[in-house]
Amino acid sequence: MRCTLVALALVSCHRDPPASEDAPIQLGAALQITGPLANTGRYYRDGYQIAVEQINAKGGITVAGHKRQLALKLLDSQSDVSLGVRQYVQLLSQDKVDFLLGPFSSNDALDDSSVAEKYEVPMVQGGGASSQIFSRGYRHVFGTLPPADNYFDSTLKMMLRLPPRPPKTAALVCADDSFDVSVAQGTRKLLAAAGIELVVDKQYPEHTPEFSSILSLIKSKPPDIILWSGHEPQALNFLRQAKSLGVDANLATSYTVGVPAADFRKALGKDAELAFGMTPWIPSKDLKDDWFGDGDSFARAYEQKFGYAPDYHAASAVADVEVFARAIETAGSLDRARVRDAIAGVDFHSLYGRVKFGATGQIALPELVVQIQSGQVVPIYADDFITRPVYPVPAWDKR
């Protein structure tokens, strides 16, 4: 038992030297670098890293007249939520990080953000969109993913304007986790408001690989549109099984996740063609950024550095770091209460879009409708049409 005391003491004995005036400002996060969520977790690891490096390369940030560098402390939570919580506490009390960046996924963000609230340290997280995170009255948690309830808003607005006719019937297929339940609830309201009848409304277990029954049900009463929400691996299976069972919507099918990710297109090849999706972000020259120039040059730098294209997760991660850079400069100190207030008041344009938090601490970015055309993610619709979509999407056997 004594040796375990020694071991426990060991865990806490290597501390960093006390922070001085020009010591780097420490940002910390516990991310899914291994485990089932590693696939998306890496966007955050790489996004945080490239943002910190770029900000430092441009001279760091100015705090009360002093130039300070940023430093990043990342831990691997192994996709284990409770390990993540402990690691966030460690980041604060042992590694002495100044501020917290978030993990990926709504479930992780829910748990980990309670550490931030407990210790009254601001956390800006770009990985959790569920409204559950922001409905608890927490003051120290900010999110750069737009609210889940509105994901299908722009898609439906677009479809109502497109020839040959506005959709009359829809099938809604959503997972049963926090994020997707928010999507489903929001979408049901949107559909009712648009006067679209819901002919199939099925919830499936989050990690299921199987959609054949739901697809057969959809095929038995073909709807004008199919709206699907869940995680990326499930999106992949839904699409493949839809093809193999010959299930088509009369007009189009749209997915909340997957379509903008390079991985998704690579795994599906030609089958991904013409799928509708959405993203709060797409690389663009119009998104000006103080550190990266613009969204386009960021995407190129990112792909060159890490060997794969960034999607909105990565851009959201970069925005998180930039929020801290801005807020610390505005606050003029590392005082957590002042930085927290500065974050609540930030309003700036970045490669990710306009960053400004609402009363609950969540950003409000519109979801851009995208479609895969010739293997590329093409922006279709924001407030108005950007590119002509292929619509209605031809049936599988007519392509």
Binding site: A38, K202, S213, A267
Partner: protein, 286 residues
Amino acid sequence: MHLAAQILLNGILLGGLYGLMALGMGLVWGVLNIVNLAHGAFIMLGGYAVYYCHAGLGIDPFAALPIAMVGLFCLGYLVQRFVLSLIARAALLNTLLVTFGIDVVLTYLALFAFSADFRTINPSYAGDHFELAGLTVPLAQLGAFATALVLAGGLRMFLARTRTGRAIRATAQNLTAARLHGINPRRIYPLCFGIGTALAGAAGGLYGVVSQVTPYMGNTLTAKSFVIAILGGLDRPLGVLAGGVALGIAEATTDIYLDPTYRNAIGFGMLVAILVLRPTRLFERA
């Protein structure tokens, strides 16, 4: 009515693949008395083997199955020969723990070797289907079902007709008696474990064709294989195949007539129920 028939067909086709997944686990469990928690990891490795044969070398996935099976056989043979044989006579719990450890290590290595990218084995005909009496029959799923049928039948023939197969069955029934008849378990055990992992490899390849391959796919498949192996009666190949089909149908009908969120409750519920209600049949074997 038409929908019900389609759901039944979906369940049966999926169930064949389920059965194939559990075939190897049942065999190893029945003969070696090892509950192999690393079974799903071997399925995963089979999936990657077929993926690389198809994506890298351009070999048709169904033609690549034998390659994956040979590779997985060798791996399984070595794992039994050099790791599991060390604890062949230890308590059951210890074999559970060691196979769990192997699972964790294989999964970890796979993450580094293959990255966390999702992979699909996507030959040109993967999404094709044909209509038969008003039902949609997906081609790849039908192929997977047929392969499962062939492999289960082949395993049954092998166990019943060949000398080695009979030696395996004798070992399963009574190790001491088998030894007295000159059967060397040091030869039979790795062979049998290798056959088990080879079958897992085939299941992984087919799973990649109808679904996808990731380093972490194994866990849920191990749990499914348990359920099916128990349902089907361990080392009775056709029984296990039937168990797979039963689970496939149960899941497919749950999706439609109850709710998809109950599908895991049904699967695990069946497992517990079968264990509790029919323990005698299992005890005779244990």
